[in-house]
């Protein structure tokens, strides 16, 4: 599809993309789906998701031990090797222990004009946490205003909220179309769409997503071969090949619990009313990531409910090596799924994927069980 090619184009060289964009817009890097992007956008800045895509992360060795996850090592490598020189700054919401230290190392070893720690609450189940969340966002707004000598008006926030709601709604719509008719678009293309939507200028992303959703909605492709329906669960996925290897092995990823998927687009910001309070409310109550706490069963319940809603046959845990929050959740969530009769498998990756042959064998074995 033509629409897909434009998403792919930006992923071919994200660095070049932001370099070009930086001529007319200041770029702010971030690496967590709890980043209140709406506020960055409302400040007239461009939020750019850091995926740490450098294949060789040895530049990070000077600062981080080998037992640090490849995502953080990749992001640090990108910035230390000059790939992110077109940034005007970065924002670090408190994510996990590792990203919290990445924030320190970034602050101490780079010299961008802007830097902010947005230390959001970890606990998301109390009134005090809710109010603190909002207070942190108000402080962030003030920090952006002071840092760039601008005023972020409520009107600008309302415009950004609307835009992000459009982006999230279209992403959801595309995911739903795919869940209903997986043969219309490949999973790897969806993965590319998600990643590119966090790199592209958001007005462009919204328009491209609208085109794609419309195009898919109109597509009269013949019904494809039915395959098993699996759900991918993990931190984020920057490996489009996983989807295609799975498809060749006999399964479609029809839903996910990923920061490059449902955790990014689920939940909209209420329009009208106080924009900061509305943004806070969305992030406070969105689908939770394991680095946050709401209840001790929230994640397992979310996953099971997605399994039921999207008629999932099996769950694949995509575990980034050294990702503590996900690794701690895994045994109990797996147990919870087992108790519900939902099969699952664990795939641990570090940086790149294992050789395709080995991966195919593992996937096929799992899919045969479904």
């Amino acid at each position: 599809m033509e629409a897909i090619r434009s998403f792919q184009k930006v992923l071919d060289d994200p660095v070049k993309y932001i370099e070009t964009l930086s001529a007319r817009k200041k770029i702010i890097g971030y690496c967590c789906s709890y980043t209140p992007e709406e506020m960055i956008h409302a400040a007239g800045l461009h939020p750019f998701r850091l995926f740490g895509l450098s294949p060789d992360t040895s530049a990070a060795d000077r600062h981080l031990q080998a037992y640090c996850c490849s995502l953080v090592r990749g992001v640090l490598t990108d910035v230390l090797t000059g790939r992110l020189d077109s940034l005007s700054g970065a924002v670090f919401p408190h994510t996990c222990d590792t990203i919290q230290r990445l924030s320190d190392i970034w602050r101490l070893n780079t010299g961008f004009p802007f830097f902010a720690d947005v230390v959001l609450p970890v606990k998301l189940n109390s009134q005090s946490a809710r109010e603190y969340f909002e207070a942190v966002l108000r402080k962030f707004r003030a920090d952006l205003e002071a840092g760039f000598d601008i005023t972020i008006t409520d009107e600008a926030l309302a415009v950004s909220i609307k835009l992000y709601n459009i982006i999230r709604s279209y992403l959801r719509k595309i995911w739903e179309i795919h869940a209903a008719r997986p043969w219309l678009i490949s999973g790897s293309d969806l993965n590319r769409v998600a990643m590119a939507s966090m790199i592209l200028e958001r007005e462009t992303a919204a328009a491209m997503l609208a085109d794609l959703a419309d195009g898919l909605g109109r597509l009269q492709a013949q019904e494809g071969k039915p395959r098993r329906r699996v759900m991918l669960v993990g931190s984020l996925c920057c490996q489009p090949d996983i989807y295609s290897i799975l498809e060749r092995s006999g399964a479609d990823v029809v839903w996910d619990d990923l920061c490059t998927g449902s955790r990014y687009f689920e939940g909209l910001v209420a329009e009208g009313g106080d924009p900061v309070a509305a943004i806070a409310e969305r992030y406070y109550s969105r689908v939770i990531c394991p680095a946050k706490h709401s209840s001790v069963t929230a994640r397992a319940e979310n996953i099971v409910s997605a399994v039921r809603e999207h008629r999932i046959d099996g769950v694949i845990f995509l575990m980034l090596k050294f990702c503590d929050p996900h690794a701690f959740d895994y045994p109990d969530i797996k147990g919870f799924l087992d108790a519900q009769g939902i099969p699952s498998m664990l795939l641990e990756i570090e940086g790149g994927l294992p050789p395709e042959g080995a991966l195919t064998t593992r996937f096929e074995t799992f899919i045969e069980m479904l």
């Binding site: 000077r62 600062h63 981080l64 031990q65 037992y67 640090c68 408190h94 996990c96 222990d97 590792t98 919290q100 230290r101 990445l102 924030s103 320190d104 190392i105 602050r107 101490l108 070893n109 720690d117 230390v119 609450p121 970890v122 606990k123 109390s126 005090s128 946490a129 109010e131 603190y132 207070a135 942190v136 402080k139 394991p290 680095a291 706490h293 001790v296 069963t297 575990m319 090596k321 050294f322 503590d324 929050p325 690794a327 701690f328 959740d329 895994y330 045994p331 109990d332 797996k334 664990l346 641990e348």
Partner: protein, 410 residues
């Protein structure tokens, strides 16, 4: 050159007393269900004082993790956790403790079952995940005290948030215990907590004396009471007696090493299953580990505590502890300790079990080398999982490190 045998003769009489206190403490904790007391499992950096006020027995899985490590049971227990699905890259305290809870095994026959869980994330995000696992397993209430990370500052918003959570914490305890919080008793507990921390600080300060009357390895051992019994008279009496004993030893000319020539600062948690080996290895070079950043954490926030307003001021003290601050803030503490204890070198334990303590060490290491000009070295391990430790490789590195120190100091 000192020998381990001679060092053994110089063991502290307070060590015997501490073992008695800890034994009694664990007996009380393990018989709590018979004596009608409630047991709370709490993180090592968590505010224990409200539990003491409520007469709830605090139990520390992390202290237990240290016991597991010291008794060389960590490897087996961690392997059991791995069989349950926990990654080998996770904190070895957490893995060993989760295995103990499920297996009902480990030293002293396991910990007493908790009636409630209190998790303060001022030391790491790991404790949050670990306590979520425990809450699911034991099916008991969990209170999370969320202390926002203070990279460079403690903003007003964070202060207000933590302050409110202390009220929520007390309400949680009142609900769990079915009785009100005793304000009057809290004043006494606050006073004892401050007194205990002050004495602990004096104990650690005393190793600035040349030669040092005790080592960081002793501090790792004596730490248990300021962690577990902070806010009680027992801890105050103990540290007062320990301080007296150390004073006596200085008067009598009894020091940690026969011939202390080099003074070393240790960073990060201990390697619990190699304490004696490390102590002997450094001692064989006449090197004394005089101080460490870890045990200092239990008195490092005293500057924020107001004696006349204890329960208000601990909001800041518990939020701005050593591990909940930025790398540059941590480096400042390291610099101060280098000067205070006049050390010749810095040994950094790159602890695979503790990412927030270990990531950033390379930056601190460089700052130390550049600004303090002393040699530094890294030792890698999982603090409670002896399977990850290479004794021969570590020995080689320590020897090489000591050669550099000897060459630079003579």
């Amino acid at each position: 050159m000192s020998t381990p045998d001679k060092d053994k003769k110089k063991s502290f009489r307070s060590a015997k007393r501490m073992r008695e206190i800890m034994t009694e403490y664990y007996i009380n904790a393990k018989t709590a269900s018979q004596t009608g007391k409630k047991v709370a499992w709490i993180t090592s950096g968590g505010p224990v004082e409200p539990l003491i006020v409520m007469d709830v027995i605090p139990v520390y899985p992390e202290n237990y993790g240290a016991m597991i490590g010291a008794s060389h049971m960590g490897g087996d227990l961690c392997a059991k956790a791995e069989a349950m699905g926990y990654s080998t890259d996770l904190c070895s305290y957490a893995r060993a403790d989760i295995a103990c809870a499920v297996e009902n095994g480990g030293p002293i026959g396991g910990l007493p079952r908790p009636d409630m869980l209190v998790c303060c994330n001022n030391i790491c995000g790991t404790v949050l995940k670990w306590y979520e696992v425990l809450a699911r397993y034991f099916k008991v209430p969990l209170f999370v005290l969320d202390t926002p990370f203070c990279h460079t500052e403690f903003p007003d918003q964070a202060r207000a948030y933590v302050r409110r959570q202390f009220d929520e914490y007390i309400a949680f305890l009142e609900n769990a215990c079915g009785r009100p919080f005793d304000e009057e008793k809290s004043l006494e507990v606050g006073r004892l907590s401050i007194e205990g921390q002050r004495l602990w600080k004096q104990v650690l300060d005393i190793t600035a004396h040349k030669p040092a009357p005790m080592t960081a390895f002793d501090a790792f051992f004596f730490l248990a009471l300021i962690v577990t019994l902070r806010g009680t008279q027992v801890a105050v009496d103990f540290y007062r007696a320990l301080l007296g004993e150390i004073g006596e030893r200085i008067d009598q000319g009894i020091f940690a090493l026969e011939n202390e020539r080099y003074r070393i600062l240790w960073d990060n948690l201990p390697i619990w299953y190699r304490l004696k080996w490390l102590s002997d290895t450094f001692a064989s070079h006449d090197a004394c580990l005089v101080a460490d950043t870890y045990t200092t954490a239990w008195c490092g926030s005293m500057k924020y505590i107001d004696e006349n307003n204890f329960f208000e001021s601990i909001v800041e003290a518990y939020t701005r502890i050593y591990l909940n601050i930025g790398v540059d803030e941590m480096a400042k503490t390291v610099f101060e300790m280098i000067d205070k204890y006049q050390v010749d070198g810095l040994v950094m334990h790159s602890n695979r079990s503790c990412k927030p303590y270990s990531f950033g060490q390379y930056d601190i290491q460089r700052m130390v080398q550049e600004q303090k000009g002393i040699p530094t070295m890294m030792i890698e391990s999982h603090m409670t999982d002896e399977r990850s430790f290479s004794e021969s490789a570590t020995k080689t590195r320590i020897d090489a490190f000591m050669e550099i120190i000897k060459a630079s100091k003579g």
